[in-house]
């Protein structure tokens, strides 16, 4: 039996796919938003292709952020790496406080226009939530379980892989979820430096005073963010419930 919220999500997903594959079906809905003779459906490229490129940019940047943030969090929670904790905290915090727009402005002269400056901005911006959550997850494990893990004769690496990471996984996933959602929205500004993302649609709409473009670009990003957010949350819950949380 499907619950109502699940049904909503399935419908939203179906509508999104339909819109990306056959945008002209939705033309009558968007028509009232534009002036006479202006196109109501984005006509300077395929919406489907832009969406896939948008997702790819977010996926690459997030994957990089996960690897670096998780590695840092693991390093500073080992007794040998504890002294690096303040340093990595500040580094990751700088990444978050620097506005992505500023990162783009600084990165373009070095890497040129295109996808690279956007990837760098998203990567830096995505580090903090993953790092902080991984840190919380790895430092708040129940002492009795850690004691038992040592007592059964697990080596440091075995404790990390078999006990600490699996137990911290729901909290780590929550950090990844935050990071992904922020990146999905932030990626749109990459189109100001010619990265191919859904920002193109929004920027085109702003430039030609076409509200329909702005709305469709914004809505696709919003629906993607909501669906991915919910999917990751469901994954967290299913892992968490097995452990009786």
């Amino acid at each position: 039996m499907l619950r109502l919220p699940t049904l909503f999500r399935l419908v939203a997903f179906a509508v999104l796919i339909a819109f990306l594959v056959q945008p002209q079906w939705f033309e009558p809905l968007l028509r009232p938003l534009v002036q006479e003779n202006a196109p109501a459906i984005y006509n300077q490229g395929s919406l489907l292709q832009l969406t896939l490129l948008h997702l790819r940019t977010v996926a690459i940047a997030t994957a990089g952020a996960i690897v670096v943030a998780l590695a840092l969090a693991i390093l500073v929670t080992r007794s040998s790496g504890a002294e690096f904790l303040p340093l990595s905290r500040s580094l990751v915090n700088i990444g978050q406080t620097f506005p992505p727009v500023a990162v783009l402005a600084l990165a373009v002269p070095i890497f040129g226009f295109g996808e690279k400056p956007t990837l760098i901005a998203l990567f830096l911006y995505g580090l903090l939530p993953i790092f902080e959550n991984a840190l919380t997850g790895l430092t708040t494990l129940p002492p009795s379980i850690m004691e038992a893990a040592r007592g059964t004769g697990m080596t440091g690496r075995q404790r990390l892989m078999k006990i600490e990471l699996p137990l911290a996984m729901p909290v780590i996933l929550a950090g990844i979820r935050l990071s992904v959602v922020i990146s999905l929205a932030t990626a749109t500004i990459g189109s100001t430096v010619a990265a191919r993302t859904l920002g193109e649609v929004i920027i085109a709409g702003l430039q030609s005073n076409n509200l329909a473009f702005v709305v469709q670009g914004g809505l696709i990003v919003a629906v993607l963010a909501v669906l991915i957010h919910d999917a990751l949350q469901a994954a967290e819950r299913s892992i968490g419930s097995r452990m009786g949380r």
Binding site: I145, G151, G244
Partner: protein, 312 residues
């Protein structure tokens, strides 16, 4: 055999354990008691090197416990703690299989061992093996914790307040089970507790710790008759002494010739239980039956009163 020789543990200026020497005989239950902060848990944890001593040595069967890497040592020593410490993301069967898996046993052997242990602890292997720890009651979790500690057939089992989180009825049952399992596997058990009833019930020998030192290491009977210090005496509880003395020995040791009226008591019951029955039923003597159910004599109120008397 565990030989603890001149063990001291200091954290900075504070000495937690001071020059402790104990020899623990194989296949016995040794209980370490003391108030909180007496160093009893630290002493226990130095046996499997969860804590490294500042000075002194600990030998297991004549071998220094620092002669192999700490994780290999711990795989050979069972360890059960208060609140069980089960891994919440692993099933009961996987939890019990922890140490055998680390030791690289093959799957069939692990499965046989898990089934054997679950059965021994009165948990149906089919029903409980695939469950997660949070689906079990406190008493069941505790039994799985002990089963996990015993899975690799260690000669030594260390227990840190293993029954502390259990209610009195389940705790009594867990203690009986532990004694039965100790006889079954002939494990050397070192158990830490602050519960004197538990200590007197389980121990072959009791070590009393106070401010980091062992103030007395003796059998329960010796300790009752000759407490070494005022601290030991207060720990035993002056009002409890005669009853603890009776609780150590069985009715079989107090049987007198003759007959008595009324319901009989088994010879394996403790003398304290016999006294309790006598007082409650208002009789002067009880018939005693042996393990086969035949009457072997009587146990009398006067006899028990004499036995409960301390040295004068």
């Amino acid at each position: 055999m565990i030989e603890i020789e001149g063990i001291t543990k200091r954290y900075g200026e504070t000495t937690v354990v001071r020059d402790v020497s104990l020899t623990i005989a194989p296949r016995t239950v040794t209980v370490i008691v003391g108030t909180s902060g007496s160093g009893k848990t630290t002493l226990l944890r130095m046996i499997n090197r969860l804590v490294e001593p500042t000075s002194g040595t600990i030998k297991l069967d004549g071998e220094d416990n620092r002669s192999l890497p700490d994780y290999e040592l711990r795989r050979r020593i069972g360890y059960a703690i208060q609140g069980h410490g089960l891994f919440p993301h692993r099933t009961v069967a996987q939890n019990i299989a922890t140490v055998p898996t680390l030791l690289g046993w093959d799957r069939a052997r692990i499965e046989v061992k898990v089934t054997e242990l679950l059965t021994l602890f009165q948990l149906d292997p089919v029903a409980f093996g695939p469950r997660y720890p949070h689906e079990l009651s406190g008493g069941q979790q505790q039994r799985v914790g002990v089963a996990r500690a015993l899975a690799a057939e260690p000669k030594v089992l260390l227990m840190d307040e293993p029954f502390g989180a259990l209610d009195p009825i389940i705790r009594a049952k867990a203690q009986e089970d532990l004694l039965a399992i100790q006889k079954h596997f002939e494990t050397t058990i070192v158990l830490v507790t602050h519960d004197m009833d538990e200590a007197f019930h389980l121990a072959d020998r009791i070590a009393v710790m106070d401010k980091g030192e062992v103030v007395q290491y003796a059998t329960p009977a010796e300790m009752l008759v000759k407490p070494a210090t005022a601290f030991v005496e207060s720990l035993i509880g002056a009002g409890e002494r005669p009853f603890r003395l009776l609780a150590i020995e069985t009715v079989a040791d107090a049987v007198e010739p003759g007959a008595a009226e009324g319901e009989a008591i088994g010879s394996a019951a403790t003398q304290r239980e016999a006294l309790s029955t006598l007082l409650w039923s208002g009789r002067k003597a009880l018939p005693v039956v042996g393990p086969d159910g035949a009457v072997i004599g009587k146990v009398s109120l006067d006899g028990l009163v004499q036995r409960a008397a301390g040295p004068t």
